[in-house]
Amino acid sequence: MSIFYLIYIEFMIRINAPHWLIFALWHLISFIFIAILLVITVIILVLFERKYLAFYTRRKGPNRVGTYGCLQTIADAIKLLFKENIEPKNIDKMIYYTAPLLVFSPIMTVWFLIPFTSGIIPFDSSCSLLLFMAILSIPILATLFAGFSSGNKYSLIGGLRACTQAISSEIPLFLCLISISILSGSMNLDSIVKMQNDSIFQWYIFPNILGFIIFFISALIVMNRTPFDLPEAESELTAGYHSEYSGMKFAMFFLGEYALTFILSAFIATLFLGGYNSPMGFYISDLLNLPIIFQEFLKNIEQFIWLMLKTGILILIIMWIRASYPRLTTEKTLIFSWYILTPLAIFNIFIMAIYKLLRSIL
C-alpha cells in the first residue's frame, strides 16, 4: 500500500465517511489525476512535435499565438470545439458515432495501469501486463469501424490497412512481453519495475536488447507512426480512416493518437528502462533529513520526473524517426513484421529462457 493511500484512508476515517464513499472517491481522484495528466501531456506533445519537426526541417514552427507559439494547441482545440458537426451522406450512423469514443476510451483506460511512481498506481492488478495488451487491441477495432461506416472508399482502405497492420504487429509485441515475463517472473507492472531498482544494470534492456528493439518497432506500427503510418497515408488516402470526421470527432482520433504515443513510450520505459526507478541507484530525497511524509512526497515527485524523462527521450527518438524516414508500402510492412520481427521475437524468448536458467544455476 502506498503512503498516499494510507493517509487518505486515515483522513476519511477521521471524518467518519461511509465505506462506499471512501473507495468510490479514491477511484474518482485517480480518474481526475489521469484526465488532467492526459490533457496536459497531449497539449504539450502536439505543440512539441510541431516545433521539433520544424527544427529538423529548417523551419520555425508555430510562433504566432503566445510567446514562441506556446498557446497554439489551445487555439486549435478551441477551433475544433466550435466547428460545425458535418455528417456525410452514406454513413452507418450508430457505428460512425461510436468509433471516436471507442478509440479514445480504451487508450485512456490503459493509462490507469502504468505505475507512475511507487505511490501512484491508479489501478494495480496482478496481471496488468496482460490487461494492458488486451485493452490496447480495442482501438484497432474502432479504426476498422470508422473506416467501414464512413461510406468512403479511402476510409475503408485506411481502416483495413490499420487492421491488418495491427494484427501483424501485435504478435511480436506480445512475444516480447512473454520474454519480459520470463525475466521478471511476474505479470504485475509494479513488481516488474521493482525488480529493476538496484542500478542501471538491472534494467531489462541489458539482457533483452533484442526484445527492446523488436518491441520498439512493433510499438511504432501499433501507434501508426511515420515509417508505418499507412492507415492515414495522406498522399494516397487523404486522411485514411478518419477522413470523414470533423470537429470534436476528429479531435478524439487526434487526442487518442498522441495519448497512445505517450502511453506506449511510458510502457516501454516501464518494461525495459527501469520505469520510475532512478538510474543512479538512489534518490536525492533519501539523502535529505526530512520528516518521513515530506521525504516520501519528494521521492514520489522524483520518481515521476524520472519516468517522464525516460518517456520523453523515447518520444524524441520516435519523432526523430518521423522526421527522417519515408513511408513503407503495405506489403513491405506486413512482410517485415511476419517474416522478420515475429521469428526474431520467438528466438528472443529462447535466449531469455536460457539466460534466466543460467542465472539461477550460477
Binding site: N63, W320, Y325
Partner: protein, 120 residues
C-alpha cells in the same frame, strides 16, 4: 547474409544523422509581414510616373500589348489591374518618364485605386 543485415542498418543511421545535422542549419522560414524577401534590381513592381519628364509622345501607349491599359488623352493614366508588367512602356519611353518600383503588395478592395493618375 550478415552484410545484408548490417548495410540497411548503417544506411538508416546515416539517414537519422543527416536529418539531425539539418537542425543546426540556418532557418529558411521568413516571417512575412515583418521580414521581407530581398528583391532583385530588375524586379518589376508597381510602375511610377514622372510628370515633368513626360512629353506625351504616346509611344508607351503604342507599345503596350493591352488596349486600354495606358490612356493619354488629356491626362496620363495606367490601369495596374490590367497591366501585365511586361516592361515595354518603361523600356521604350524616350524621356525615362516611367520606371518600375519594388512595391508588390498591390491588393486593394476597390479597383479604382489601381488606376495610376497623373497627379499622384
Amino acid at each position: 547474409m550478415i552484410k545484408s543485415f548490417i548495410l540497411p542498418i548503417k544506411e538508416l543511421i546515416k539517414g537519422l544523422y543527416t536529418v539531425f545535422k539539418n537542425g543546426f542549419k540556418k532557418r529558411v522560414t521568413l516571417e512575412y509581414p515583418e521580414k521581407k524577401k530581398l528583391l532583385n534590381n530588375n524586379f518589376r513592381g508597381k510602375i511610377n510616373y514622372i510628370k515633368e519628364n513626360c512629353i506625351k509622345c504616346g509611344i508607351c501607349q503604342n507599345v503596350c500589348p493591352l488596349i486600354s491599359c495606358i490612356k493619354i488623352d488629356t491626362d496620363f493614366s495606367i490601369d495596374l489591374s490590367q497591366c501585365i508588367f511586361c516592361g515595354n512602356c518603361v523600356e521604350n519611353c524616350p524621356k525615362n518618364a516611367l520606371y518600375f518600383t519594388k512595391e508588390y503588395e498591390l491588393a486593394v478592395n476597390n479597383k479604382e485605386k489601381l488606376i495610376l493618375k497623373e497627379d499622384n
